[in-house]
C-alpha cells in the first residue's frame, strides 16, 4: 500500500520538478524537492 503511494507520488513530484525547472520557478521546484525527500524518507523507514 505505502509502496503504491510512494510510486504514485512520483507523478506530481515529476510535474512540479519539471515545471519548476523549465519555467525557472524555484518555489514550485522547492516543493517538488521536499516532496521527493519525504518520499525517500518514507521509503527508508517503511518495512520491505
Amino acid at each position: 500500500m505505502i509502496k503504491n503511494i510512494i510510486f504514485l507520488s512520483f507523478i506530481p513530484i515529476f510535474i512540479l520538478l519539471y515545471y519548476g525547472s523549465t519555467f525557472e520557478n524555484p518555489t514550485v521546484g522547492l516543493i517538488g524537492i521536499l516532496m521527493f525527500i519525504i518520499a525517500a524518507v518514507v521509503q527508508f523507514i517503511t518495512k520491505n
Binding site: 509502496k3 503504491n4 510512494i6 510510486f7 512520483f10 513530484i13 515529476f14 520538478l17 519539471y18 519548476g20 525547472s21 523549465t22 525557472e24 524555484p26 521546484g29 522547492l30 517538488g32 524537492i33 521527493f36 525527500i37 525517500a40 524518507v41 521509503q43 527508508f44 520491505n48
Partner: protein, 513 residues
C-alpha cells in the same frame, strides 16, 4: 575532503547494499538524500540547479521504467500462456548438455540480443529462459549480467560506440580498433566468469575449449567489421559469429543426436518465439528506416553552480522515440503475441488479468528504487561531484593512472546504469588525462568504453531489471555480491593491458593528436 564528500553517496549505497544487506529501495533512498544534502551544502548547487538535476533524473528514470514495465509484461504473458515451455523444451532438444545451454545462452545468445536491442532486453529475455530450463535463479541472473556485458559497447546498433566517438571527437575507426583490443580480453573473461558461476574452476577448465576458439573467431570478425566501417553492426555480427562457432564446436565435439521433430504443445516453436522474433525484426526495421523523428523528450535550461561547474542546457533530454525506444517495440510484440494466442485458441481473459496484476506488483518496487538511484546519479553529475571525484583520483594516481582508468568507466555505468552515459560523463575526461600524461588518447578512449561496457552488469537499472525478470525482487544485494568480483577482476586485467599498451609499449593507434 572534496574526494571524500564526492564519493560519500556511493559509499552509502554500497555499504547499505553489500554490508547491511538492505534492499535497493532503502539503500537508494538514503543515497539520494545524502547526494542532495552534500550537493547543496558543499558543491554550491542551488534550489534551481537541484530542481533541474532531479527533474532530469526522473525523466531518465521514465525512459528506463518504460522498458522494464513493457519487458516484464511480455515475460509474464509468455510465461502464463506457456509459450516459454515450448521454447525451453526445444532448446533442450538441440543442446542436451546443461553446461553448453548455460554458456551459449548467457554468453552468446544474450550478446546477439544486445547487438540488436540492448537496453536490458537480453537480461529480461534470457534470464527467464535459463530459470525455466532449471538453472538456479541467482546463477542465471549473474551469468547473463556478466555474459553479455562485453558486447554492450558495440551493441544496441552501436549507440555507445557512437557516443565515445562524439564526445572525444577522435577518429571513429581508430577508437574501434582500440576498443576491440580491450573487448577481446573482456569477452574471454566474461566467458570464463559464466563457466565459474556454473560450476567453479572445474567448468572454467571445461569451458576453455569453447571460449578460446570462439573468442578468436569473434575478435577476427570484430576487427573485420570495424575495418569495413559497419559501425552499427559490430556487436551483432561479432556475437552471431560467436554463436555459430560455439554451436558448431559443440556439434563437432559432442556429436549430439539430431532431433527427429520439434517439440510443440498448443503452440508450436514459431508461435512461441513470435514475440521475440518480432522484437528483433522491429528493432532492425526501425533502425533501417530511421523513424526516430517521432519522439517525446524534455527540455532543460543550463546553469552554473556556485563553485563554477557548468551544466549545459538540454533541448531534447531522455528522448523516447516512438519507433526506436524498446518499450513501444516490446508492446507491439506483445500485441503480436496476443493475436497468436487468440488464433491458437489459448486466450483467456482471466489469465490476462493475472498477467497485468503480476506486472504491476513486480514493477512497482523496482520503479521506486530506480527513480531514487537515477536521481542520485543526476544530482551527482550536475552538481560537479562526479567530476570532482574523477579529477581527485587522477591527481592522486598520477603516472599510474592507466592502471586505474577502467574504474571510471565502471563507475560511470554503475551510477547511471548505461555505457552510453558513462562515455558521456567520462569519455572526454579520460581523453584529457591521456593528453596530459602524453599517452595515446585512442587507447584511453577505447578502454573507457569497454570498461563502461562491463560496468553495465553492476548498473542498478540492469540489476533491477534482472531481479524483476527472475523473481529475485528485494535480493539485489545477493546479485551485486555475485557479480562484483568478476567485474573487478576484469577491470584489473583491462587496467594492466592499458598500462602495458600506453606506458610500456607506448602504442600509437590513430596517429599523434
Amino acid at each position: 575532503m572534496e574526494l571524500l564528500l564526492s564519493v560519500t553517496p556511493l559509499i552509502i549505497l554500497l555499504f547499505c547494499l553489500l554490508a547491511l544487506k538492505m534492499s535497493t529501495g532503502k539503500s537508494g533512498a538514503l543515497a539520494v538524500v545524502s547526494a542532495i544534502v552534500i550537493a547543496y551544502l558543499f558543491f554550491g548547487i542551488d534550489a534551481n540547479g537541484l530542481t533541474i538535476a532531479m527533474s532530469k533524473g526522473m525523466s531518465l528514470a521514465l525512459y528506463v521504467l518504460l522498458i522494464i514495465w513493457a519487458a516484464v509484461f511480455l515475460y509474464q504473458l509468455v510465461y502464463d500462456f506457456k509459450a516459454i515451455d515450448v521454447i525451453n523444451k526445444n532448446i533442450i532438444l538441440f543442446i542436451k548438455e546443461p553446461f553448453i545451454q548455460f554458456l551459449l545462452l548467457s554468453w552468446l545468445f544474450s550478446s546477439v540480443l544486445q547487438g540488436i536491442a540492448g537496453f536490458g532486453v537480453p537480461v529480461v529475455i534470457v534470464v527467464p529462459i535459463l530459470i525455466h530450463l532449471g538453472f538456479d535463479r541467482l546463477s542465471s541472473v549473474a551469468a547473463v549480467l556478466l555474459g553479455h556485458s562485453w558486447s554492450v559497447s558495440f551493441g544496441s546498433m552501436g549507440s555507445s560506440f557512437f557516443t565515445i566517438f562524439l564526445v572525444t571527437n577522435l577518429d571513429q575507426q581508430s577508437i574501434g580498433y582500440a576498443m576491440a583490443i580491450f573487448d577481446f580480453a573482456a569477452m574471454i573473461m566474461m566467458g570464463f566468469s559464466v563457466c565459474y558461476i556454473y560450476g567453479g574452476w572445474e567448468y572454467v577448465k571445461k569451458g576453455f575449449k569453447y571460449i578460446i576458439p570462439t573468442s578468436l573467431v569473434m575478435i577476427v570478425v570484430m576487427f573485420t567489421v570495424i575495418y569495413l566501417n559497419l559501425v552499427s553492426l559490430v556487436g551483432l555480427l561479432t556475437a552471431i559469429s560467436g554463436l555459430i562457432t560455439m554451436y558448431t564446436l559443440y556439434i563437432l565435439r559432442e556429436k549430439p543426436e539430431k532431433p527427429k521433430e520439434l517439440y510443440k504443445d498448443k503452440l508450436n516453436l514459431g508461435q512461441a518465439l513470435a514475440p521475440y522474433i518480432s522484437i528483433i525484426t522491429l528493432s532492425l526495421l526501425f533502425q533501417i528506416f530511421k523513424l526516430g523523428k517521432y519522439a517525446l523528450s524534455f527540455k532543460y535550461p543550463g546553469f552554473v553552480t556556485d563553485l563554477g561547474f557548468q551544466v549545459q542546457a538540454e533541448s531534447a533530454y531522455a528522448k523516447i522515440k516512438i519507433f526506436g525506444h524498446p518499450a513501444p517495440i516490446i508492446l507491439m510484440s506483445v500485441v503480436i503475441g496476443i493475436l497468436i494466442y487468440k488464433k491458437a485458441n489459448i486466450w483467456n481473459n482471466e489469465k490476462f488479468k493475472n498477467v497485468v496484476h503480476k506486472t504491476i506488483t513486480k514493477c512497482t518496487k523496482t520503479s521506486i528504487s530506480l527513480v531514487f538511484l537515477i536521481t542520485m546519479a543526476l544530482v551527482m553529475m550536475d552538481s560537479g561531484m562526479t567530476n570532482a571525484l574523477a579529477l581527485n583520483v587522477a591527481n592522486l594516481t598520477g603516472g599510474l593512472y592507466p592502471l586505474f582508468a577502467p574504474l571510471f568507466g565502471i563507475l560511470g555505468s554503475f551510477i547511471t546504469g548505461s555505457n552510453t552515459n558513462s562515455n558521456v560523463i567520462f569519455g572526454k575526461f579520460q581523453m584529457s588525462v591521456a593528453t596530459a600524461l602524453g599517452v595515446n588518447a585512442f587507447v584511453m578512449a577505447g578502454l573507457q568504453s569497454i570498461s563502461g561496457s562491463i560496468g553495465v552488469s553492476l548498473g542498478p537499472t540492469t540489476i533491477l531489471m534482472a531481479s524483476s525478470a527472475s523473481g529475485l525482487n528485494g535480493q539485489e544485494s545477493k546479485i551485486y555480491r555475485k557479480v562484483l568480483k568478476p567485474v573487478l577482476l576484469t577491470a584489473a586485467i583491462l587496467g594492466i593491458i592499458n598500462y602495458i599498451l600506453l606506458v610500456v609499449i607506448k602504442i600509437n593507434i590513430g596517429g599523434a593528436l
